[in-house]
Structure formats: C-alpha cells, structure tokens
C-alpha cells in the first residue's frame, strides 16, 4: 500500500520550472531514496510534503489525506516528521528537553495550556524520551545543552526528536551531508535499525551513492525537476538515463 502518493506536482519559481509533473509513490514500511544532481528539485519536493511550499498544481496524499493547504504542525500531527539538512534543534535547551518537547506534542496535540504539572514529575514522558535517546546513543548526554553538541550529534538528536513522536513517515534531507566515512557508516546502520520494528516509512534525499545503495528499497531519480526513473536500486544502477543525468551525454556514448 502506498503511504505517500504524489500526483502531477508542478512548482514554478519565476522562469524556473523547479518541479515538472512529478509523480511518486512510496510504499508503507520501505526506505525510499530521492537522488539527483544539484538543483534537481529534491529539497523543493520535500518542502511540498511538509507545508513549507505549496505546489502550483498536483496533489500530495498521505494515508489518503491531502497534505496541501494545511500548516506544518497539522502535517506533523498527521504523522509526518522531518529531519532538516542543517539540524533544527532547540539549542538553548538540554538534550532531554529537546526530546521531551516532541513527546509532549505527540501526547497533548498542537496546543494545550498544561501549566500546573512539573516537567520533572512527568515520569512517563521522560522515560519515553530516555528510551529514544538510548536507542540513538545520546542517553549519557541528556543534561548537556544542545548547542554544545558536535554536528553529527546534533543530527542524531534531531532524529531522536522525530522518532520520539512515533511518526508514520520520516523525511530525511541529506542525513549524511558533511560527515566523515565512519560517521556516514554509523548513520547508515542507525537508519537501518531505527523504527524498523515500528514499520516507519522513510524518504531520504541523498547525494552519496554509497548511502543510497546501502539503504534504499526503491530509488527515484530527479533531474531538472522531473522524475526520470523510479525503480529498484539494481535497475537504477544500470539505467542509461540516470547515467546521462549524472555524467552528461558524452560519458554514456
């Protein structure tokens, strides 16, 4: 069953056709990669899933519900979480608080004036946050202020924040950008491991072919705003259109 269904999405910025009739279908419980050269429209496409951008035409359906015309917090409450290219975390707060906030948001909904109970007495929320931090390997740093973390840890923290909400769909924008080979491999293992038992569907935008081919169940290739191929990894590897998009015509000839 397709959990995310993208139909005929177009987006134009002035004279630039950023997305050109994009069709995409993401199956429940799979890891779906979107690859493509710089400026192919990958991030634009992701922004259309989370309410940051609205496509000019087309539809984005998640679990049979349209994600267009609703605000980012409603999309998240429907079960879509996003990890950004540059980690978006609460830098002034501790690691534990960073993960408790999404847990509260998941429990209390998008708005609740919950002013009487003390955060430090919310044992259930804290235990849940700690179990996610354990899973992701940040539990021993729970009292550290998030701004003090390394870049890799910040990204892991952001992943923990998304996982704490038990999302149905996790969107990751270049989760290994700027990482060393060792960190990249650790992230690949992490992405394979996390949320597998809960059947979380993941959509990953990635540059690094090593990451893509070790993770993805299915790959969509974007070039100049259009999907030129959507197939299994082994077929994508040998697809001449993909080679052309990445390396130019001469290389194929």
């Amino acid at each position: 069953m397709a959990i995310l269904q993208v139909r005929n999405v177009n987006k134009r910025f002035g004279g630039l056709q950023a997305l050109d009739d994009v069709n995409l279908s993401v199956e429940q419980g799979t890891i779906h990669a979107i690859i493509g050269p710089n400026g192919a429209g990958k991030s634009t496409l992701l922004n259309c899933f989370v309410g940051r951008l609205t496509p000019d035409t087309g539809s984005v359906m998640f679990n049979g519900k349209s994600l267009l015309e609703i605000s980012p917090h409603e999309i998240n409450q429907a079960g879509v979480s996003r990890v950004f290219q540059t980690p978006e975390i609460f830098t002034d707060l501790t690691i534990l608080e960073n993960v408790m906030i999404p847990t509260f948001a998941h429990r209390d909904g998008s708005f609740k004036v919950n002013w009487w109970p003390r955060v430090d007495k919310e044992a259930q929320t804290r235990d849940h946050a700690m179990s996610v931090l354990d899973e992701i390997g940040l539990a021993d740093k729970k009292d550290i202020v998030a701004s003090a973390l390394s870049r890799g840890d910040k990204r892991r923290l952001e992943m923990a924040m998304c996982l704490a909400q038990d999302p149905k769909l996790l969107l990751l924008d270049e989760p290994t950008a700027g990482m060393s080979r060792a960190d990249t491999n650790a992230t690949i293992d992490l992405l394979k491991r996390i949320g597998k038992s809960r059947g979380i569907t993941k959509v990953i935008i990635e540059h690094d072919m090593h990451v893509v081919f070790s993770l993805a169940d299915k790959i969509a290739v974007l070039a100049q705003g259009a999907v030129i191929a959507e197939d299994l990894p082994e077929n994508i590897k040998t697809d001449p259109r993909v080679k052309e998009a990445y390396l130019g015509e001469e290389a194929v000839a």
Partner: protein
Amino acid sequence: MKILTHPTSSVDSTMMFIFVAAVLTMPIWLTPIGAAYPDLMQRFVIFGLFATGFNILFGLTGYLSFGHAAFLGIGSYTAVWSFKLLGMNPIPAAIFAVTVSGVFALVIGYISLRRSGIYFSILTLAFAQMCYAIAYSDLIGKFLGINLTNGETGLRVLADDPRMLDGVLTSGIDTSALTVNLFGLDLTHTWVWNGFQFNAGFYFCAFVLIIASYIAMRIFRSPFGLMLKAVKTNQNRLNYTGVNTKPYTLAAFVISGMYAGLAGALLCITDPLAGAERMQWTASGEVVLMVILGGMGTLMGPMLGAGIIKFSEQKFSTWGKPELHEFLAFIPDGIRDTVVSVASLFVGSGWHLTLGLVFMLIVIFLPGGIVEGGRRILMIVTGSNRRNRQIQAAAQAAE
C-alpha cells in the same frame, strides 16, 4: 560543555518559602537602608508583580513587548470604575482589572503576534500609544457622551458615586472617607511596632504578589513553560514538531497582560486615582529595564530588578549636592568639590543617567542580569563549578 540542571520541586519549595518570608518581613529588613515606608514598599511589590508577568512573555518566549504599560493603565481605570460603581473593596476591583486587561491583551496580542521581532515590538508600542491617546483625551468617553477616563485630570472616586456594595459588605462602617477597604479594614492603615511600620495595603499587595509568583513558578516548570522556552529557541522546529506556536505566544501575551492589569489595580489601593501617564511609553520601557537588569527568564530576577530601579529612583532622584557632600565626606576637601559637582549630574533630575550607565554595564558585562551575577559568585564560593567539571569529564570519557 554546558550542563544544565533544573531545580527540583523541593529546591523550589525552599526558594518559595524564603521568598515569602522575605516579602512579609520587608518592613523590618528594609528599615536599615531607609526604604521601609509603606508607599515605597508597595511600589516594590506592585512593580515586582508587573515585571514578573512581563517576564512570562519576554523571558520565556523572547517576544519583546514595548506596550505593556497600556495594560497597567487599563487595570487602573477598571479598578477605579469598580470602586466607583461597586464600592471601595479591592477584591472585585482586582478581578475586573484582570478580566478587562485580559480581553484587551487578547485583542492587541492577536493582532501584534501576526509579526515577530522588531515589528512585533513596534505594533505593541503603537497600540500602547493609541491607548494613551484615547485615555488622555477621553476619546471613547466623548464618543459615548460619558466621562470614561476623565481626560488629563485622571479618574477618581467621588462622594456621589453609587458604590452599590459598600453598604452590603461593610454595614455599619463609615466609608465616606473614600479609602480602599477590605471588608471594613482600611488599607491605608498602618500599625507601628517598635518603630517598624506595618501597612495593611502593603500586606494586601504582598499577598497578591506571593500568589502570582507561585503561579509564575508553576508556569516556568510546566510543559506549557517548556513550550514557551522552545518558542524562543527555535519556533520553526516547534512548528515542524506538531506544535501550533501562535496560541502559545498569545496565551503568554494574555497572561502577562493580566499580571500588568492586576498591578495596575493594586496601584489604586493607596490612592484611588487612575491617570493616563501610567500608560506612556516610558512606563513600558521601564518594565523592560527591570526584567533585563534583574535577569530575563529567571524567576526572581524581575522582582529584584523592579526593587532596585524603584529604590534608586526614590534615592537618587531626591539627592542633591548637600547629600553628596555628606556621602563623599571621606574624600579630602580639595578635590571633594570637583567630585561632587561631577557626581551631582547623576543624581536628582539626572538620575536617569545613572540608570542608563548601570543598564549599559549589565547588558555588556552581565547579560544574565543580577541573578546571573549572583549565580557566578555562588559558584566561586561553593565550588559547584568543580562538580560541573567532573560531570563534564565523565560525559567526555563516556564518548
């Protein structure tokens, strides 16, 4: 690496207990520094309340309102109207002041919070100046054909006002003096014991401050407070975390507006008079100074800031050259005249120069305010710095 640990509930209870004791004994421990007269102590408490409420908006969410004096004024006008119509009891006056300022805050906040940063500040400033103009010229009153704010003279209680509940709540007591009374207890009354002055109005305000501070503490430590802190740190992330940030900021705005309205009502206890100057932009700016001076985002900071500013205002603005000569008597005669003539620029009507200088020093050298300064001193004294470093070392070893 910076470790952050929050006080546990037992630490908070101890702090609250010390705070309550300190507030209730103010008439005693403020005597040696010459600040223990009822009028000034009431101002400490009332502006402490105003700053505490302002801190819920500014300290937690980071939204800097430059128009909170409007709610202070609205609270005062509502309280005086309650005195006029219902009688001289402060309780209905306080309830109505909180309600009416809350409604105004809801409207002004709803519109102003459509923008953030400097545009938000400007919008709140514009609203406050509009409120000031309306009150000063009594524009709505003129439109309706009634005397709503009494213009530049200010609104006061008159002998022929209905005061409907006065006969009911305080039967058999003469209320013709038109002073505020709590079910017959005259709030301008002062008991004197061993030279210390215990004023009924002060204790009424202190009681309100204690309750309001307790509520503020609950908000600070609650999931709601945590969400407000998250708004300040990264509103974008919070939106993508499924939180609708608009109602959160609006709730903080309304709560702080209600605190301001309550403070405005308390200002009318000693003198049941409401004037438009209470809403002027300088009053809005003053509460910002109080919060920053004391320490924004801390529980006790705003109250300290309010106390220090009101105390210095009282002291420095009344000083002149004779007082300076006395104060600087330890300086040799030859240079004392020069020192005094320079220092005299900073007292009397020039005391705002002193305030400006202190404010600059705090912002540059101690951005966390007085509370941050106290925390640093405490760390040096108790050596808890060492303990933090041990935790950090342990965390690093675990990496």
